[in-house]
């Protein structure tokens, strides 16, 4: 068990380092920005900042000091949990994120659920249905992966909102609208899970134990449920953790198409208005979520699958 403790500590340490480095990296990318968007934004008469407020914000961010000093100060604020103040609205970034976070969390949770259900249905169909259907289903994931996410959303709106009138495109936070927004994201994610799942099922079905079970006269369904499913679906935990990032990135598109409020919409607005502190905070937050979820997946995995040794991280789709 001390082996596991050491492994957990090492991985947790790595995770912290990655989060801090992500903050530095994002800061660097954003400060590459040509021109001086901060003062342009602040001096823009539309924003109505008084000279005092400008002076306060400039000194708060230390914009009059060298970049490295700025980085250090912003990083030390970040470590204490202070995400800074928006350049646009003069509000705390943490408040702005907290306001829209629930909407995106609902979207993300719904889309991951849909993705899991959909991918297991596809993989099940591939392995259980007779010939022509199973081969057709086999190409479904690659079809899903070839369709741009925004297009799926547009088509769903076209068919189910304009065509069948199931939800109103304006009422963006209703349960039906949320379902279709989640479906838009979930379809893309399900394809990636289904690919791994199908490959794993293929791999397991070719193992000797599967052959033995078949020769004993085990039916297809029992074979699938009792023997193949468990070893095949464990790696899905890892894939699902990696997909968290895709969902957060995809939220930008999905929320734009469906006109939802949320983190993605906040990103879009901050990009349009060059609200750098917000952008920086969202990117770092996304990285934190990704790192934490993957850390948990890595820590839980050896407990779920006793075959995994702690030396190496389980390779995703290694037998694909």
């Amino acid at each position: 068990m001390s082996g596991y403790g050491g492994f957990a500590l090492r991985r947790a340490g790595q995770a912290v380092v990655v989060v801090l480095l992500t903050y530095v990296f994002t800061f660097w990318v954003i400060s590459v920005l040509p021109g001086d968007p901060v003062t342009t934004t602040l001096r823009n008469p539309q924003n109505g900042f008084t000279e005092e407020e400008i002076a306060r914000i400039v000194s708060y961010y230390g914009l009059d000091r060298p970049v490295l000093v700025q980085l250090w100060e912003s990083l030390s604020r970040f470590v204490t949990g202070d995400l800074g103040v928006s350049l646009r609205s003069n509000r705390s970034v943490a408040d702005m994120i907290g306001e829209v976070l629930p909407s995106t969390l609902v979207l993300a949770a719904a889309s991951l659920t849909i993705a899991v259900v959909l991918s297991f249905a596809i993989a099940f169909g591939v392995h259980y249905l007779p010939r022509p259907f199973s081969t057709a289903l086999r190409s479904v994931p690659s079809l899903f992966l070839s369709v741009p996410g925004f297009l799926v959303g547009l088509l769903l709106i076209q068919v189910f909102s304009f065509g069948l009138g199931l939800f109103r495109a304006i009422d963006t936070d209703g349960p039906v609208a949320t379902f279709f927004a989640a479906l838009t994201l979930g379809i893309w994610v399900s394809a990636q899970i289904a690919e791994v799942l199908i490959a794993n099922l293929d791999h397991e079905a070719a193992q000797e134990y599967a052959g033995v079970a078949r020769s004993r006269g085990l039916g297809r369904l029992r074979m699938l449920l009792k023997h193949l499913l468990k070893p095949s679906s464990l790696p899905v935990v890892t894939v699902l953790a990696l997909m968290i990032g895709e969902v957060l990135g995809g939220a930008v598109i999905t929320e734009a198409v469906f006109g939802r409020t949320g983190i993605g919409n906040l990103v879009e607005r901050s990009v349009a208005s060059q609200d750098l502190p917000v952008l920086q905070a969202v990117v770092t937050l996304a990285a934190v979520v990704f790192v934490v979820v993957n850390l948990l997946a890595d820590l839980v995995y050896p407990l779920l699958d006793p075959r995994v040794t702690l030396q190496a991280r389980p390779e995703v789709g290694a037998n694909a």
Partner: protein, 282 residues
């Protein structure tokens, strides 16, 4: 398309060779699609004689017909001409993205795999950072830092692909380094550069090629998404994503969405099919 010619010959071919060169029809079709798209991007004028920028006001919102295959838009511009002329930008920027990912990511992977030790640790953390930021979010941040242009969208897409290439190349290098023939080459006095060029790169090329093709398809989608959000060149540029985005405003002319969407899907589907085939024949 010499590949089809090979399968068509009736002359006795050794079984092994025949198996290698038997190309499934869908792959042939995919290559044809890619060839057509490359044709569109190299010489759009050959494939569409109509003006993509200046429309005929009398013809606005004409549905698809023999004269206008994809119909016309709100200015009476031929949508097919706009799609064809937008190809160069959409496809070549995807190519730029793949090249950036391949060169930068490849270099990182080679260095960390080959040098190991501290270099490996430092580069691995850097790659972890790139992986930790959701790739589309990373692309959005980079393009907003560089400015809203299609070329910058391409660079941003390339940056978001660096991590994947770095990982694959690193593992390929490690795989090759532990191979007996590489050990033999080193024992025989082969320099590191010699081993790299003669053994490691040729062995890695297949999986890198397959990844590059896959990333090419993905990049088309990412760049289309960035263009859709308005982070690419502004109109009258006619990137595929921009065309789809513009088509949204005219729900009574659905062909303005469907035509560029279909072209995008078929292209990416073909590219992905080729990538899959490359992986299978490995």
């Amino acid at each position: 398309m010499t590949l089809t010619a090979v399968t068509a010959t009736e002359a006795p071919v050794p079984a092994r060779v025949r198996r290698t060169w038997r190309v499934p029809p869908t792959v042939v079709l995919s290559f044809l699609v890619v060839a057509l798209v490359v044709g569109w991007s190299v010489a759009p004028g050959v494939f569409s004689g109509q003006d993509p920028v200046n429309g005929v006001p009398a013809d606005l919102f004409a549905p698809p017909s023999a004269a206008h295959w994809f119909g016309t838009d709100h200015l009476g511009r031929d949508e097919f001409a706009r799609v064809v002329h937008g190809t160069a930008s959409s496809v070549s920027s995807a190519l730029v993205a793949v090249l950036i990912g391949l060169v930068v990511g490849g270099l990182i992977g080679l260095l960390s795999g080959f040098l190991g030790g501290l270099v490996d640790t430092v580069l691995a953390r850097f790659v972890d950072v790139l992986l930790a930021i959701p790739s589309f979010l990373l692309a959005v941040v980079v393009v907003s830092a560089l400015g809203f242009q299609t070329i910058n969208a391409a660079i941003a897409t390339g940056v978001s692909a660096v991590a994947v290439f770095a990982r694959v190349l690193r593992s390929e290098v490690l795989k090759a380094r532990s191979a007996v023939f590489v050990e033999a080459s080193l024992v025989l006095g082969g320099s590191r550069a010699h081993v790299l060029l003669r053994h490691v790169l040729p062995n890695a090329s297949r999986s890198v090629l397959q990844l590059a093709v896959l990333q090419f398809g993905l990049s088309i989608l990412v760049i289309a998404s960035l263009a859709f959000l308005g982070y690419g060149d502004p109109p009258p540029a006619s990137d595929w994503g921009l065309l789809i985005s513009a088509g949204r405003e005219y729900p009574l002319a659905p062909w303005l969405i469907y035509a560029p969407a279909l072209v995008t899907i078929v292209t990416v589907l073909s590219v992905n099919r080729i990538s899959r085939w490359l992986r299978k024949t490995d």
